[in-house]
């Protein structure tokens, strides 16, 4: 068996030069330090995305995207399809976990200051991926066509209308008309299974390529020591050996090979995530709700999913009128400006200095604000 594998590998290698192709992976290293565990968040997010693709394709085999059939087809998946309940629950739970881990990944990158030059584009592509993930959540939420989803989507697209100049057009574009109807479902389905996955895959490739190309960032305090060690090893091996003896094993294990060491650890993290997903799907299956009825009154306490709740609650707290301006429009514009600044955040950091501390403060403020406002939104509903 091993001989056969070896011969197959050699055969391919002779034609495709696999050795050269795999070289970058073989020489890639991952820093090892107190904060190394945060490096797994991006990989877990990627794993959850792959789970979404797989389970989403399986759901496509039974789901029917029409207002008259969507709810019944999801009900069929939950009650008749063998393990349909499992696939759908995993899909729903993984969606929420993916967004959660994406946020966690973003904040860990921020607080470890991994966004700095030359990784600005990694940050920007990551931010766009986060927005796409939230777009997945918003469009996918409607597809079961249940009551909460119907009215939450109505509220969400109503907020879109507050954007000046193009707001109404955007709302009509998203809804496929003036109201949330079967046309809205068709559009959200198309976005959810075709447009967003395509764009996300492209951005993901860019994001991962940038990471591969530029390597993984090390927190500032540790970077100097590692660079010094490399310099000494190159120019004065004796001094390097002396330093290692004094520093002990800690300095020796500053880096580990990406393959197979970090790769296998990442695989462990993926298996843990898989176990958590399975447990959540079996212990707390995603509920179906009741079929949407456009003529029924909206149930009390309609609110968007948790990752939009902090924005929703903020808009609710803004008065209807702020001077001559519409309060909700002001809120929407404020969020847009804040989002734009957040996207361009790496370009404001000029190294150690005031900008860096301002960014750290902004990060802490954003984390506290989003958490507090989300909790407030849940308690207020």
């Amino acid at each position: 068996m091993k001989n056969l594998v070896t011969r197959a590998y050699e055969w391919l290698d002779e034609r495709l030069d696999l050795q050269d192709l795999m070289a970058p992976l073989r020489h890639k290293t991952v820093p090892v330090h107190y904060y190394s565990y945060w490096y797994y968040l991006g990989g877990i997010t990627l794993f959850l995305f792959l789970v979404q693709v797989f389970t989403g394709i399986l759901l496509l085999l039974y789901y029917r995207p029409s207002a008259n059939e969507a709810f019944e087809s999801v009900q069929f998946i939950m009650t008749r399809v063998q393990f349909g309940w499992l696939i759908r629950s995993i899909h729903s739970w993984a969606a929420n976990l993916m967004i959660f881990f994406a946020f966690a990944h973003m904040f860990s990158v921020l607080f470890l200051r991994s966004y700095r030059k030359p990784r600005e584009l990694t940050w920007v592509s990551g931010m766009v991926l986060l927005v796409l993930a939230m777009g997945f959540g918003f469009s996918g939420y409607l597809l079961p066509w249940n009551t909460l989803a119907f009215f939450a989507t109505k509220v969400g697209t109503d907020i879109v209308r507050q954007v000046p100049v193009v707001g109404h057009w955007l709302m009509v574009f998203l809804r496929g008309g003036e109201d949330v109807t079967g046309a809205t479902l068709s559009r959200f389905f198309g976005l959810h299974v075709a447009v967003l996955p395509g764009i996300t895959t492209l951005l993901l490739a860019i994001h991962l390529a940038l990471i591969q190309r530029q390597g993984i960032s090390v927190p500032g305090g540790m970077e100097g020591a590692m660079h010094a060690l490399k310099y000494l090893r190159k120019h004065d091996p004796a001094a390097a050996e002396l330093w290692l003896k004094q520093a002990g094993a800690q300095a020796e294990r500053r880096e580990m090979p990406f393959f197979p060491n970090f790769f296998l650890r990442e695989l462990m993290a993926w298996y843990v995530a898989l176990g958590v997903l399975g447990a959540l799907a079996a212990l707390a299956p995603w509920e179906l709700g009741t079929k949407a009825d456009a003529f029924a009154p909206a149930p009390a306490g309609i609110r968007p999913e948790w990752y939009f709740l902090w924005m929703f609650q903020t808009l609710k707290l803004i008065p209807a009128k702020l001077g001559p301006l519409d309060g909700e429009m002001v809120g929407v514009l404020a969020f847009s400006v804040a989002g734009g600044l957040w996207l361009l955040l790496p370009f404001f950091d000029r190294g150690e200095g005031r900008g860096s501390r301002w960014i750290l403060g902004a990060g802490i403020f954003a984390l506290v604000y989003m958490t507090a406002m989300s909790v407030y939104g849940y308690l207020a509903s």
């Binding site: 009900q75 009650t79 309940w85 294990r253 197979p260 060491n261 296998l264 176990g275």
Partner: protein, 425 residues
């Protein structure tokens, strides 16, 4: 503008001016000097202006003189209340029905105000117990103003009206629940109290179902009379159609007629119609069957069987409900079984209606259908619980497998990194 349009407009204008009978009667409030003085007097001579303003007659443009006579355009009492002007003053109770009927029995006159309003109230009243006793000289009985009120009469569609469905029972009870007032007539005075305990009262007042029966639904309104023995069944069957049809085909029809007892209320009561329960069957203390049937009688045996079989279906439904509720609490999806459970409940309701045929074979058809559905939903619930256990076991096995893989990976990583010279760049 085209010529045809001009002609159309001209024809329209011409038809307006040539209405038969001349201009329609004025709707505006006519001069009414009566209230100038009488609004200041105390009752019964006085009438508060606010009271009369809400009266439907005032709103339609009628005045005090419309009933009491006189000339409301005059400013002195001598002229306004002169007999020459037709002044009648206080109307004697005996004259009230005829007074109201001057207009309300005139179909042509009433058509101006409300074409859909009936105009046979007086002739109906004369057929009622009230009307007959009044004709004999008994002026204690109800006349128009006792039910409709006076000076502040509201239309029946107004919830504040004394003849609105929500208020009729209370209006009747002013006399019929007054034991002292009704003593001379030798009839019960507990009807209102009984009615308030009935399912009809609950439907009307608590659920707001205006089609639910009240006094006038069974007794009539202007032609009010107690339904006779032979009439009770027809009264109830206006709403309870299926029960009446089944009863007509049942052995009880002829037996009740022979015994001279009325249908329906013999078992269900008249004013105190409580929600019928299965306890009315069987041989228990609340049984209606044991009024006639004794132990050893065929009817007695059937009554016991009816009750037992209804209980069987009821218990089967409750058992299924319990299993489905447990499954739902575990997060299982059982909405289809819930829907079918509704059909089992429908079968139970239908069986309780079919009871009125008093034929076991017909009742058994409905009961069997319901039992079959309840058994299926019970099995669905049990299957859901088994599926739940299967999912838990599957989760356990999966997590165990993942744990094994994790341990293997951990050991493999350690093996890779423990080798000499490996694990560092």
């Amino acid at each position: 503008m085209r010529r045809t349009d001009q002609l159309a407009i001209f024809a329209l204008l011409l038809s307006v001016f040539c209405l038969p009978g001349g201009a329609p009667p004025a709707r505006a409030q006519q001069a009414d000097t009566c209230l100038d003085c009488h609004a200041e007097f105390p009752e019964p001579i006085g009438v508060a202006r606010e009271k009369f303003d809400v009266d439907i007659h005032a709103q339609k443009g009628l005045t005090c003189a419309s009933c009491h006579g006189g000339d409301p355009s005059k400013t002195t009492p001598e002229e306004a209340m002169s007999p020459a002007a037709g002044f009648r003053g206080h109307v004697d109770r005996k004259q009230v029905p005829e007074l109201c009927a001057r207009c309300h029995s005139d179909g042509a006159y009433m058509r101006q105000y409300n074409p859909s309003l009936r105009t046979d109230q007086l002739s109906q009243y004369r057929t009622s117990v009230h009307g007959k006793l009044l004709a004999k000289g008994d002026d204690k009985v109800a006349v128009c103003t006792d039910c409709h009120s006076v000076h502040g009469i509201r239309p029946g569609s107004d919830p504040r009206s004394s003849i609105h469905p929500l208020n009729i029972a209370e209006t009747c009870s002013r006399c019929h629940a007054d034991a002292a007032y009704m003593q001379a007539y030798k009839i019960p005075t507990d009807q209102y109290a009984s009615y308030k305990e009935s399912v009809h009262h609950r439907a009307l007042v608590e659920r707001g179902d205006l089609s639910a029966p009240t006094c006038t639904t069974c007794h009539g309104n202007h032609g009010a009379a107690p339904p006779g023995v032979a009439s009770v069944e027809f009264v109830c069957s206006n709403c309870h159609v299926f029960q009446a049809q089944l009863f007509d085909s049942s052995p009880h029809k002829s037996a009740f007629a022979a015994a001279g007892v009325p249908a329906c209320i013999t078992c269900h009561s008249n004013h105190r119609v409580v929600a019928p329960g299965d306890a009315m069957l069987g041989a228990g203390p609340q049984s209606a069957c044991t009024q006639c049937h004794v132990e050893g009688d065929g009817g007695y045996t059937a009554a016991v069987t009816f009750q037992r079989r209804l209980g069987d279906l009821q218990n089967a439904i409750l058992r299924s409900d319990e299993v489905l509720e447990r499954a739902e609490r575990f997060g299982m999806e059982v909405s289809e079984a819930r829907l079918e459970q509704g059909q089992a409940r429908d079968a139970l309701t239908k069986a309780r209606v079919t009871i009125h045929s008093f034929q076991l074979a017909r009742v058994e058809e409905d009961l069997s259908a319901g039992l079959k559905i309840a058994e299926k939903t019970h099995q669905d619930g049990l299957r859901a619980l088994q599926e739940h256990d299967f999912r838990r076991k599957g989760l356990g096995v999966s997590l165990l497998a993942i744990l094994v893989v994790l341990v293997a990976l951990r050991l493999y990583i350690r093996q890779i990194e423990s080798g000499p010279g490996k694990g560092s760049a």
